[in-house]
Amino acid sequence: MHTTSLMMTSSLIIIFTLLTYPLLTTLTPNPKSTAWALTQVKTAVKLSFFVSLLPLFLFLNEGAEMVITNWSWMNTMTFDINISLKFDHYSVIFTPVALYVTWSILEFAAWYMHADPYMNRFFKYLLVFLIAMIILVTANNMFQIFIGWEGVGIMSFLLIGWWYGRADANTAALQAVLYNRVGDIGLIFAMAWMATNLNSWEMQQMFAASNNFDLTFPLLGLIIAATGKSAQFGLHPWLPAAMEGPTPVSALLHSSTMVVAGIFLLIRMSPLMENNQTALTTCLCLGALTTLFTATCALTQNDIKKIVAFSTSSQLGLMMVTIGLNQPQLAFLHICTHAFFKAMLFLCSGSIIHSLNDEQDIRKMGGMHHLTPFTSSCLSIGSLALTGTPFLAGFFSKDAIIEALNTSHLNAWALTLTLLATSFTAVYSLRVVFFVSMGHPRFNPLSPINENNPAVINPIKRLAWGSIIAGLLITSNITPLKTPVMSMPLLLKMAALVVTVLGLIVALELAMLTNKQYKPTPQLMAHRFSNMLGFFPTIIHRFTPKLNLTLGQTIASQMVDQTWLEKTGPKAVTSLNIPLITTTSNTQQGMIKTYLTLFLLTLVLATLLFLH
């Protein structure tokens, strides 16, 4: 057999085996030792990462992509469902990135969760999540995507509600599941449409057979699915609420891997979306709205994890905008680079939180640059990469997206919103750095500040290297599928940088205002709107269920009881007949015998007359 294909297929199988082996060992009744999590799980992920580099290098060297169909699962006369894995250039790049980030996060989690009695279970959940994510990413048919999709959704629920004694954590986990379920309606609708109209769930057949169809409905279904999973506007409140879970969960699921599943689905389906202007415009406007709205909400949050969560949501909106521009490869590039610096931002936040004795409010941090220099430096590196500082990781993807935005034929409103959101990114990043690292400490003196543990330093260091060079590495090795526009006016070329710098200057000016008071009372309305997340959760979580429940109550009591029982049913019979009865009795006055006798006599008389 040809060496390349043999190596690629066997590496994929080996990755799956390495990841599933620790799970299988948990099926025995013997409890695992406390070192199981660190030795078995982390080693498995680390080995899988190195194994996954092999297909990556083969792809970079030869451009080798592959599809393997392993097992015929369910087959009818006209419809086949197989287990089919695809290692095309999207999954061959994403798998090593995801495994690298997961490896770092697992090493960090061993330190972060070391006091937790159920640490082994935590690692097991993270491993199941990782396997579901790899299934989703390497899927070649919609059924496997659905399996991976639901798998990551359920693990997200279990992991967000890890500290289930806390009521807020339970509500957040429930929110995640419900919002994801609403998105799943779109996915199932799209799958049903594909099964009935294109007669297959295999991607190759779907792309080949879809030329003559109007694909607006299934594409809108897929966009709804992405809205739910990737927290676009309308189905977004679960992502900031998901910060109730432990920081490693936030770093893995809600920044790098799970939330990009929706965008990844749209990237996979991009051949279907290319020709459908409705779907593209929907993606564009939805993404622009998301990115601006969540960036606005991030401006006034006080919890460090919530700021990073809103930052994630804003970047997801940006990825959606890129898909709306018909540039799936740029969106994928942004997914990969974003994974590095966002996971690093979460790990730095986790390190700071633990150092300050579980304090998450940035108003009670400060001066960390002197106390945890390594962490705060990496926080700064991550923030710079996030804002798109030239030649860090975020620059290659973000600047390319903004350039494509500026040179495409699209509506100006989406462009304005996205540029505004880019400047807001700089503002809230500076806010985080200012409140956390700069100034004087605002926390209790006896905090257990210690970042000297290699289990903390090494993961953050690895991700920092990734945040710096990943963008350069990926862009210099991958051939772009669409040629970018090379020449544009200077202002358009520098637009992203100009807008970011403007945001930075505004933020610095605002930061200088923290110890001055220009007005007796501040202007509260804008702050309230942003701090309360646009009042979206407040309204939607209370108002719509209350409306539905009162509707149900009205139906049960008014329609059923009043209409069927009283107006048309038994009581109606009574209420109609009683007036008739009283009238008749009043007339007749009860002389029944007399009336019956007269009746008989008339009858006899009539009979006799008739006979005669």
């Binding site: 009795s585 006055q589 009860g590 002389m591 029944i592 015998k593 019956l596 006798t597 009746f599 008989l600 009858l603």
Partner: protein
């Protein structure tokens, strides 16, 4: 008139007379009503047999079912009367008490 015809016709007339001229008890009126139903049952069965119209063979059963309902309604009224007026004597029904 054949003897059978005479039998059920006279049964019907006697029942009707008894219903009209009931003296003391409501129960006797109800019994006469039952007699009338019985004679009608007989008449319907004879109709189906003598005129050879088999499509009407089910009608006696139908009549029986409905007469049972009617008899039970009558008995319920009897019980209601006994409850409110103390007995089923018909003089008391003239008093227009509810």
């Amino acid at each position: 008139m054949t003897p059978v015809h005479f039998a059920f016709s006279s049964a019907f007339m006697l029942g009707l007379t008894g219903l009209a001229f009931h003296r003391t008890h409501l129960l006797s009126a109800l019994l006469c009503l039952e007699g009338m139903m019985l004679s009608l049952f007989l008449a319907l069965s004879l109709w189906a047999l003598q005129l050879d119209s088999t499509s009407f063979s089910a009608s006696p059963m139908l009549l029986l079912a409905f007469s049972a309902c009617e008899a039970s309604a009558g008995l319920a009224l009897l019980v209601a009367t006994a409850r409110t007026h103390g007995s089923d004597h018909l003089q008391t029904l003239n008093l227009l008490q509810c």
